[in-house]
Symmetry: D2
Subunit: 345 residues, 4 copies
Amino acid sequence: MIKVGIIGSSGYTGGEFLRILAGHPEAEVTYLASHTYAGSRVGDVLPAFAHAPWVFAPVDIEEMAAQCDCIIAAVPAGAAMELAPAVLAAGKKFIDIGTDFRFHDTQLYKKWYGIDHSCPDLLPKAVYGLPELFRDQIKGADLIGNPGCYPTSILLGMAPALKADIIDPKDVVVASMSGVSGAGRKPTVTNHFPERTENLCPYGVASHRHTPEIEVQAGLYGKTEVQVSFTPHLVPMSRGILSTLVLKLRSAMAEDAVRELYEEHYRGEEFVCVLPPPALPQTKAVAGSNYAHLAVRVDERLGRLLVMVAIDNLGKGAAGQAIQNMNLMFGLDEGMGLRTVGLYP
Amino acid sequence: MIKVGIIGSSGYTGGEFLRILAGHPEAEVTYLASHTYAGSRVGDVLPAFAHAPWVFAPVDIEEMAAQCDCIIAAVPAGAAMELAPAVLAAGKKFIDIGTDFRFHDTQLYKKWYGIDHSCPDLLPKAVYGLPELFRDQIKGADLIGNPGCYPTSILLGMAPALKADIIDPKDVVVASMSGVSGAGRKPTVTNHFPERTENLCPYGVASHRHTPEIEVQAGLYGKTEVQVSFTPHLVPMSRGILSTLVLKLRSAMAEDAVRELYEEHYRGEEFVCVLPPPALPQTKAVAGSNYAHLAVRVDERLGRLLVMVAIDNLGKGAAGQAIQNMNLMFGLDEGMGLRTVGLYP
Amino acid sequence: MIKVGIIGSSGYTGGEFLRILAGHPEAEVTYLASHTYAGSRVGDVLPAFAHAPWVFAPVDIEEMAAQCDCIIAAVPAGAAMELAPAVLAAGKKFIDIGTDFRFHDTQLYKKWYGIDHSCPDLLPKAVYGLPELFRDQIKGADLIGNPGCYPTSILLGMAPALKADIIDPKDVVVASMSGVSGAGRKPTVTNHFPERTENLCPYGVASHRHTPEIEVQAGLYGKTEVQVSFTPHLVPMSRGILSTLVLKLRSAMAEDAVRELYEEHYRGEEFVCVLPPPALPQTKAVAGSNYAHLAVRVDERLGRLLVMVAIDNLGKGAAGQAIQNMNLMFGLDEGMGLRTVGLYP
Amino acid sequence: MIKVGIIGSSGYTGGEFLRILAGHPEAEVTYLASHTYAGSRVGDVLPAFAHAPWVFAPVDIEEMAAQCDCIIAAVPAGAAMELAPAVLAAGKKFIDIGTDFRFHDTQLYKKWYGIDHSCPDLLPKAVYGLPELFRDQIKGADLIGNPGCYPTSILLGMAPALKADIIDPKDVVVASMSGVSGAGRKPTVTNHFPERTENLCPYGVASHRHTPEIEVQAGLYGKTEVQVSFTPHLVPMSRGILSTLVLKLRSAMAEDAVRELYEEHYRGEEFVCVLPPPALPQTKAVAGSNYAHLAVRVDERLGRLLVMVAIDNLGKGAAGQAIQNMNLMFGLDEGMGLRTVGLYP
């Protein structure tokens, strides 16, 4: 039984870990740490756990490293880099849900996040935790930078086309739409219910910090320079991300040929489902699950490939993917505890 | 491994059975029958199952009775009574999600549902499947009338007060509010998204067919005549029922005393959670789960007891409860496959 | 042209005043005051006014009283009593959207709101601004306590039955359901979008501060003691209140007779619409309007009268009703500027 | 007083005409025709009009042409072309909300809509009713093809850049997101509330019929060939469209310069609001209104111009714009009856 410690367990991603791990046969949460709610009943903070006797503990990283096999941190940018060294020094594994270990280039990190990295020596050991792209490295890793929710959806949508070199990697236009849980649990006027319901808006236009993550990881995977115009939008729902990628085909291809390429690429991948036409992805079909639903279309008139991908931002986009990484790191069945189907309707 | 056949598996309750049973270690769905979608891929009809290779089969009740240990029917009123006899004759178990086996009194059934019962001889064997009230009978049953969603919430809220005889059973006023999935999957103008979002209305005022079900079962449980003023409302959400019961205390009681009575009554019940104050039930905390969350308050000024209960209408209010009944009928751990926590947020 | 000054104009009710008064032919907002946003562009705070050149002014009550004919305050409990005296002293009219002038009994006010009233001498002049109940007093008033949103819906539902003395005024059970805008614009975890969407809960059970307001005003109108069990619920929508009143008929009455009584009572009332069966009120039909939709049903089995009322909490429940009062106070056509129909769908 | 007849007045766009025209001082609806609901009370079909005494009339186009000054048709593709000739023959004006008079090229219309045009001789007289682009032609027109909702938002977003020739007109990528009311009132499983709430999906990928409308009208306005990759998405809300245009700048331009160009272009346009940074458009700010909110951003890194536009699909995207056209056609103040501000929150 893997002993898991979670830091930031009172937030949305933290709660999703508790929910998923409650059904994991080979892992259990033994340390629930929260900066904000230490001492509170978990059920008072996360009402779905009203029946649970648990109480949040304070964040004591040495103690956690001593007691747990794997520490998962769902904390703001800059906080995980203060926690990881102690965990690795204790010979335990660390998964950062945030951004601190997604970039090997500290300059780039500084540029977009404004933070000087405090443990650059650990970065060469950090693996970007997107199993469908980097499974082999993840298996041997002790330190994971778990991907962002938008990048997960977009990288899954681009990977087959990049690998097969059928698109121009510098002409990538993406519109993504996200549920509000991606913004976290801190209340704001922007996400106050009356302002957000029946409302739709773009945000972070030409400036969202997931842009370099997408470009760097797509570039590493495709071994080429990738440029992405990425525009996120906020949609009146709690969970779910849908990304629509508009790609430029290098030369004309029939839609069937592209779909076969995608199907072949993802054959054997348990959590990526290339939908048969006429189906298109919808976020509700993957809500609460670790699945990614994907469809491709070719616009022959314009020579463009359109790829649509739906995930749950808290599932495949955060906690689900982290558990998938944990399973790989500990040599378990990769999908263990993750086969729950989307809550539809 | 219990072999389960589901009739009406393309609807919302049917889909919920597939979702729950996918995680049940001792039962598997071996026969997915649908009148409407026989021959279709399940994933084309229920998009959360896009990855599943299943195809809906036609409804052939003899074949199902031969192949399965337990048949669950999620069909309209009047349809299950045509199916149950063949299943019982084959020595198998039958759970009706609908209304055909909830009443022993065929006159009352006829009055509210307008249907002559076609197998009144089976009714004495039918057990009302609310485990927290009638567990012992369920354990020995072959035929279950699975409770309605509203009655489940209301009976759980009344049971301790009825048993302890602290309320006037003829002065019960209930306002219930339900998500729209309770109305099923057939599209109507009333539940067309633009009309239902940001909208709230009562319906079935002084005439809803769950009224006699509540009164009869509460009466049987409390061994007294019960009269309920029941008003349901439709709320712009997919899942969830909240019932607020306004009861008249026979004599003054402190709130703490009532809460202790409720806690004592439900001690050991895995799926009923009496919330500690100041918590009040909220539907999202139980969404996708088999839990019922319950709180009590006493209005000393008016001598009234208020009980609020939240369930998922498709979970504890339908499919979850049916699996709980199935577990009891087959001698399994009652909560097997049902311990998933609510999808919050 | 009536010059109107609004205090608290950056909140939801304040914004609704601006929206309504933009279409009022005989009144204009000449002073938009905000404690929080003084100096900010109105369009930056209230995005529907992006095209407007207005800037919020600070709250300077003497200056406002000097410049305006009518001051409307949408401020927290306890704040309006500090503002009203200066306005009345200047010979101008004052409408308090909040609670400070709804009670003549300072003891009762203190008990429920915990505030010592600072100008009890003004209370005898204060009129409770529900035109359908107290029109004549409103016409001559300089000081209005504008009704709460819940009380408006409930008093409109009870008034005809009280006046005709067909119900027991001490056996009144009300369940109300409200959109979230009623809670104001201050963000909280409770009303953070991901927690509120697809969620439903009761709150303020047996303790909501609108209870005494309902009882007092119903008592004054019906000239009898009224006791109300009132339970509010929070529903995942922005606007709208629906109240379901369960009343005890003194003696059996046919539904048609009750409906005729209600229709007769409200004949000539422009903003109260008694719906013909089988219609029932729905909040969306009155969203953004000053209308109240009402339906009655009789449960002959239980001898109960059910009355359902829908309003927009920001319209008839706040700003719309205040404008209706203002029109009356200034001798204008009562419905001027208020005939906008609900935004459906 | 202009006498207006509406055909298809029981649908969402029809209802929006009734709502807007109820507040129009120089026009009144004198003929409400409905194929489906002739003989029904309007309030039974459109619940916001519960107080109105109106009854739907059958569609008798000769009678309508005789009685009315202006006929507005909100009918399916192919139906308006059967109605317009009689109206024009009677010397009256006709506004088609649908698609029959948006294209002068009958071949193109046939290709995308599959319909042979029955009155091609009228097409040279038909004007595309987007006042901000084609105001002068509209003023003299008797026959208007009212723009589609998506094209309205996209054309408003492209027009200044096209006119100033700062973008490549063949490299236009648009992601649009729409509320569900755009799909009309006919209930479907796709738009059944439980399936649509908390759900998000693309549709009509690389095949939506608004594509040629956008390309043709943008081309006419910009006097150049325009190619648009257009992907619409369905969002869980009733009203509102947001379009995000990703355009390729011909050469580097500072964001301020582009914004000034847009501001200058729309100076004096009452219903187009170029938002000052950091504001971005949000659909709720324009809900129920005729306003378009627009913002521009330049991604200097990629040399791209991003334009975001929000409208109400039933307002500026349909009924509001048609009234704006009617005002122009009859020589009235263009914004008469249309100055209602968005219903926020």
